[in-house]
C-alpha cells in the first residue's frame, strides 16, 4: 500500500543565500562608512549617462567608485571611466540581473579600500523585472525612467518601483519633443509608491543634477553622523 504523504514544515526564503550575502555586504559598507547607491531601469533609459554625470560632478569633493553590470560588453565601463573614477565591469553573460555574490566577487577582485570611499554606485543590468527580487546590500535604490519611455512605466512595472527608494526622471532635455507630462508621470510614481522622492534631470545639460546631488550628500552625512565628512 502506498503510504500517505506527510507534510513537513520548512519555512525558508528561496533567496536566503542572496539575502545573507547582501546583509554581510551592507554591514561591511556601513562599517567602512561608504554610502551605496544602486541604479535600475529598462535598457536605454540613460543609466550610464546619468551615472557618468554623477561621478564627474561628485569627484571634486567626494571619493567615488562604480560597479557596472552588463550582459556582454564593456562599453559602459569605458564610458564611465571618462569620469576618471575607479570603475569595474561585471559581465553577467546571459543573466538578466545582478546578485549580491557578484558584487562581493567584483569587490574582492578590485581590492578597493572601502574605507577610502564616500560613495559606491552599482549600475544594474537594464531590466525592470528581475532586479527587483535581489538585495545587493545597497542603502538606496534608484529607479530611472526617461521621458521618452512614456509616463505609464510605473504602472506597468509596479514591483520594481515598489522595491526602489527614489525615482529619477531622465532625458529632461527631450521632454518637449516627446510631449512628456511631468504631472502624469509624477502621479503614476506616487500611485505605486506613495511618498517616493522624485528628481527630474538631464545628464546632458546638467539640469536638475544639483538638487539630486544635495540629496545624496545629505544621506551620506546621515550615515556618518558622528564623523566629519
Amino acid at each position: 500500500m502506498r503510504p500517505e504523504p506527510r507534510l513537513i514544515e520548512v519555512r525558508k526564503n528561496v533567496l536566503k543565500q542572496n539575502d545573507v550575502v547582501a546583509r554581510a555586504l551592507r554591514d561591511r559598507f556601513h562599517a567602512a562608512g561608504v554610502f551605496v547607491v544602486s541604479l535600475v531601469s529598462s535598457p536605454g533609459s540613460g543609466k550610464t549617462a546619468f551615472l557618468e554625470k554623477t561621478l564627474t560632478l561628485l569627484r571634486p569633493n567626494h571619493r567615488v567608485a562604480a560597479l557596472v553590470g552588463d550582459l556582454a560588453t564593456e562599453n559602459d565601463a569605458l564610458r564611465l571611466a571618462r569620469s576618471q573614477a575607479p570603475v569595474k565591469q561585471i559581465t553577467t553573460g546571459t543573466l538578466c540581473h545582478l546578485e549580491a555574490a557578484m558584487v562581493q566577487k567584483a569587490l574582492e577582485e578590485e581590492q578597493w579600500d572601502l574605507n577610502q570611499l564616500d560613495f559606491l554606485f552599482i549600475e544594474n543590468v537594464g531590466n525592470l523585472v528581475c532586479p527587483s527580487s535581489y538585495d545587493l546590500g545597497e542603502d538606496l535604490r534608484l529607479v530611472l525612467i526617461s521621458v521618452t519611455e512614456g509616463e505609464d512605466k510605473p504602472l506597468k512595472y509596479p514591483t520594481i518601483f515598489n522595491s526602489a527608494d527614489v525615482s529619477i526622471v531622465t532625458k529632461l532635455d527631450l521632454a518637449a519633443a516627446v510631449e512628456f507630462s511631468w504631472q502624469t508621470a509624477y502621479n503614476n510614481i506616487q500611485a505605486v509608491r506613495p511618498g517616493m522622492p522624485v528628481f527630474k534631470v538631464s545628464a546632458k545639460t546638467g539640469d536638475g543634477m544639483e538638487k539630486y546631488l544635495e540629496f545624496l550628500a545629505t544621506r551620506l552625512s546621515e550615515l556618518r553622523p558622528a564623523s566629519v565628512v
Binding site: 504523504p5 513537513i8 536566503k16 523585472v129 500611485a191
Partner: protein, 120 residues
C-alpha cells in the same frame, strides 16, 4: 526572465532539506507574493526543467499566491490592496506604502514520502 534560476534555488533548498531528513519529496509548497517579482506561470514551467536529474525529479510545485496587504496610516489597520497600480487603503483611500504582506518567496513545506528501510 529569472524564474529558471529561482526554480533551481527552490529545488536546491528542497533537496538539502530532504537529504538532511532522509526523506523523498513528492511536492514542494511555495508561498508566492504578488510583489515578489516572480511570475507563477513562468515558475511552474521552469520547475520541471530545474528538477531534471535531481532527486526531486517527478515532484510537483504547489504555489499559494499571497495577495498584497498594506498598513493604512489613517485607519491604523492592515488592509488588502485592490490593485498594485494604486497603493492606497481599500477603505478610506489614503495613500499607503507600508507593505505588510505580498513579498513572500518562501518554501513553506514539503510533502514527503518516508524512505522505506531496505528489506533485509
Amino acid at each position: 526572465m529569472h524564474e529558471l534560476s529561482i526554480a533551481m534555488s527552490i529545488v536546491e533548498l528542497a533537496e538539502e532539506e530532504a537529504e538532511r531528513r532522509g526523506v523523498q519529496v513528492e511536492a514542494v509548497h511555495l508561498k508566492l507574493g504578488a510583489l515578489s517579482g516572480v511570475v507563477k506561470a513562468a515558475l511552474l514551467s521552469c520547475y520541471e526543467m530545474a528538477c531534471e536529474g535531481t532527486p526531486l525529479e517527478g515532484s510537483r510545485l504547489l504555489i499559494d499566491e499571497v495577495p498584497v496587504v498594506i498598513f493604512c496610516p489613517s485607519c491604523r489597520a492592515q488592509r488588502p490592496l485592490n490593485s498594485v497600480q494604486l497603493f492606497c487603503c481599500s477603505e478610506c483611500g489614503t495613500p499607503a506604502s507600508a507593505v505588510v504582506q505580498g513579498k513572500e518567496l518562501e518554501v513553506v513545506a514539503l510533502e514527503i514520502k518516508e524512505c522505506a528501510p531496505n528489506p533485509v
